[in-house]
């Protein structure tokens, strides 16, 4: 399946895919140009019909208000939850927009002086039946050129009641690697994505199509094991079969496909949770990824990570405040660059960490501090993706209610690739949530 159909760059393209996905998927496999044209015509024809149908439905709805009036009640009965969150930022930096692009590696990071629409996310979820839950997250974004970008960020089903503590999730989803990767931008504790995650997983975080099995083990403490297989190809799995022509450590990527099960992206995570006392809880996790990379025909990538999360809450709290939390992740990547016979063949070793502490000091107010470090082997000083970087980010967030947020963050960057070596940036972020009550996972 061609990945580009999942991640269209234009609203129209994605809408076309949404409306006629089966036809589009078929078309992708056709080599005969004529047939593609025919199927395109069919597509256009079916879209026209669909439009007419929708128009006529709209007219009936307009002429019969009772149907409209009962619509919300019907939606409630089916248990469907729809939410929209918007995330906006503005900022000023000591460096220009070009340099900011290199510093802010996340696709949803603000990366220009002035205003940024970081992320507008439409989330739809519901219980399907007694056996399944399902969820889809669609992202709208306005890029630095002012163009609207639409992404099917996630769309997956998840089982509700398998025996023996098992749970299966399938579709397009964020890989359960560490704690931060699967968090959506509006739930981040900082304005931007950690540097090491941008480097290893790309700007959008690690997500792809696949299937994973999770097992809640019959231990006395919380212990969950996740194993899965995901497609290794596309621009959301950058350390694996990223788009041809992209570069990793000076090696231009080739067009390589997954040929068998061994060529898939293998994912694993083991998460443990303990209550030290009524007021302190600890989560400890290790995660691993194995898969092919596109710098050669037989090259592989391994990424291993460890994560720690500690939270303290006194026995008496108001609206969940006060609290102190500490979240640290450590990642290393081993990237076989170019085939072993190739004179340019080498093994790229990258590593990085981020450590962030949050202090909710009074209801609605959270102060945060994040420290980051990332480095790699070899002569990497000129490469924004592999040079030695440090970043310190203090921030202050105010939540007027559970549904909105204002955040001020200062970033101090130390780099090797910038001519001035350091950069200072101030970001102001605003978030709103409307629709279904957004529940937060631990």
């Amino acid at each position: 399946m061609d990945y580009s159909y999942f991640c269209g760059k234009r609203l129209a393209a994605v809408m076309a895919v949404c409306l006629s996905f089966p036809t589009a998927a078929l078309a992708a496999q056709e080599t005969d140009v004529l047939r593609v044209q025919q199927s395109n015509q069919q597509q256009i024809h079916s879209m026209k019909q669909r439009l007419l149908e929708l128009e006529s439905r709209l007219k009936t709805a307009e002429t019969s208000p009772p149907i409209l009036a009962t619509a919300p009640a019907a939606a409630n009965r089916s248990g469907i939850q729809i939410g929209l969150s918007g995330l906006f930022a503005s900022g000023v930096s000591s460096v220009d927009n070009n340099a900011l692009e290199g510093l802010q590696g996340g696709a949803h990071d603000p990366k220009q002086n002035g205003f940024t629409v970081q992320n507008v996310e439409l989330s739809i979820s519901s219980t399907v039946d007694a056996y399944l839950d399902a969820q889809a997250n669609i992202i709208f974004q306005i890029d630095a050129d002012g163009e609207t970008v639409v992404e099917l960020e996630e769309a997956f089903f998840i089982t509700r009641s398998l025996p023996w503590g098992l749970q299966i999730k399938g579709g397009q989803y964020f890989t359960e690697f560490g704690r931060q990767n699967k968090k959506h931008p509006h739930t981040w504790a900082f304005v931007d994505q950690p540097v090491v995650l941008s480097r290893f997983f790309g700007g959008d975080g690690l997500r792809s199509q696949g299937l994973r099995v999770s097992w809640l083990m019959p231990t006395d403490w919380y212990s969950e094991l996740n194993v899965g297989l995901q497609n290794p190809k596309g621009e959301t799995v950058t350390s694996f079969l990223n788009a041809p022509g992209e570069e990793v450590g000076g090696h231009t990527l080739i067009n390589r496909d997954a040929r068998n099960l061994g060529d898939m992206l293998h994912t694993a995570r083991w998460l443990n949770g303990f209550d030290v006392s009524d007021t302190v809880s600890v989560n400890l996790g290790v995660s691993g990824l194995w898969g092919p990379n596109a710098s050669g025909t037989t090259t592989d990538t391994t990424i291993v990570g460890a994560d720690l999360y500690l939270k303290w809450q006194p026995a008496t709290t108001q609206r969940g405040f006060p609290f102190v939390s500490w979240h640290t992740e450590l990642l290393t990547r081993r990237y076989e660059a170019a085939d072993s016979g190739d004179p340019r063949g080498e093994t790229l070793k990258d590593r990085g960490l981020f450590s962030q502490a949050l202090w909710g000091f009074k209801p609605g107010w959270v102060a945060g501090l994040r420290w980051e470090y990332a480095t790699a082997n070899g002569d990497t000083a000129a490469d924004p993706q592999r040079d030695t970087r440090k970043r310190l980010s203090p921030n202050l967030s105010w939540y007027p209610s559970e549904y909105s947020k204002l955040r001020l963050q200062y970033n101090r960057d130390w780099t090797q690739h910038l001519s001035g070596k350091t950069a200072d940036t101030l970001w102001l972020q605003m978030e709103f949530n409307i629709g279904s009550h957004a529940a937060h996972i631990f």
Partner: protein, 323 residues
């Protein structure tokens, strides 16, 4: 090398999966509750046939529990999940239920009991609800356990459900419920007698959480310190409240222990209103272990507040008289 690693990892994983042991051999019914109030009632009704665990502490605001992995573990092993419902746990229970992957306790199954369904809820919204109104629970106010008469309804529903899940001990559950109801009826008369002075008076509360207590003991809550439910008071909203307290006959402010005390102190300084900090849940104070303890403690706190007020008024009168 990497392939071998992959294969051996997968082998270990599937080996572990196959070696899953059956752990559903239990003697007692495992009940998990969202709050300690429900846990206390379930313990009273379930006796030695049940093992009860609460997901949250009575010292914390139950709207804002932070979901922890240990909670998932508890729900995963539960045979019966008791929830307050009416939107109380909406911020944290749904993802917990999904992660817990326990079919028995999913809503609509016999292991899930929403107790807001068995009590008459107050404060249901009749008009449209907007979030500009604050944390309004459109389906009704969820603090219903603060009416002892609802405690009886909850106990009966729990006893009935336990009898369905464990028919062998159905009579035990019914007997314990009857004993619980009798004690409650007897104690309710005592509490009502002790709070007779409160009947018909006007009171303000910090949050909209004492409407059921007011209903049970016949007093009126005429205003809240929070300008809107869940919205912290501002200087402007407090001064508006001060103006109201100066002209109206309102002498008591009741509030939960977990809210900030500064606003209450300010109101007390400005208007001499008496502040009573009432435990809102079992477990809110170390000595509140049973459902009855909760009302014993509330009644005691209200009576102490009344005595303090009387003493202050007397001192003020004496002072005025002496001049």
């Amino acid at each position: 090398m990497n392939n071998i690693m992959k294969k051996s990892t997968m082998n270990i994983v599937f080996g572990l999966l196959l070696s899953t042991i059956a752990f559903n051999s239990y003697a007692e019914i495992r009940i998990v509750t969202s709050t300690q109030d429900l846990a206390a009632i379930a313990t009273a009704v379930g006796g030695e046939q049940v093992k009860v665990q609460s997901l949250t502490l009575g010292t914390r605001d139950p709207h804002f529990a932070s979901a922890k992995p240990s909670m998932i573990r508890k729900v995963f092993r539960a045979d019966l999940l008791l929830v307050v419902g009416a939107g109380m746990e909406i911020g944290w229970l749904p993802p917990l239920l999904q992660s817990a992957r326990n079919a028995r306790v999913q809503p609509a199954n016999s292991g899930y009991l929403d107790l807001s369904r068995v009590v008459p809820l107050l404060g249901k919204s009749s008009g449209p609800v907007s979030r500009a109104m604050g944390d309004v629970h459109a389906g009704g106010n969820p603090h219903y356990w603060l009416d002892p008469r609802n405690g009886k309804r909850m106990a009966q529903a729990i006893a009935t459900r336990l009898g369905e899940l464990d028919p062998a001990h159905k009579d035990d559950y019914q007997q314990r419920f009857k004993a619980f109801a009798q004690t409650l009826d007897r104690k309710l008369l005592v509490w009502q007698a002790e709070l007779a002075w409160l009947k018909g008076t006007s009171v303000i509360a910090y949050h909209t959480s004492f409407v059921y207590l007011a209903d049970a003991f016949g007093f009126q809550i005429v205003d809240e310190v929070e300008p809107k439910p869940g919205i912290s008071p501002s200087a402007a909203s407090l001064s508006a409240l001060v103006s109201r307290l100066r002209v109206e006959d309102i002498n008591l402010l009741i509030m939960e222990p977990y809210y900030e005390r500064r606003s209450a102190r300010y109101l007390n300084e400005q208007t001499a209103i008496q502040v009573a900090v009432l435990p809102q849940s079992v477990g809110a104070q170390p000595d509140i272990n049973h459902y009855f303890d909760l009302f014993d403690a509330i009644v005691a706190a209200l009576n102490i507040a009344a005595q303090d007020k009387a003493a202050q008024d007397k001192a003020a009168q004496d002072k005025a008289g002496g001049q």
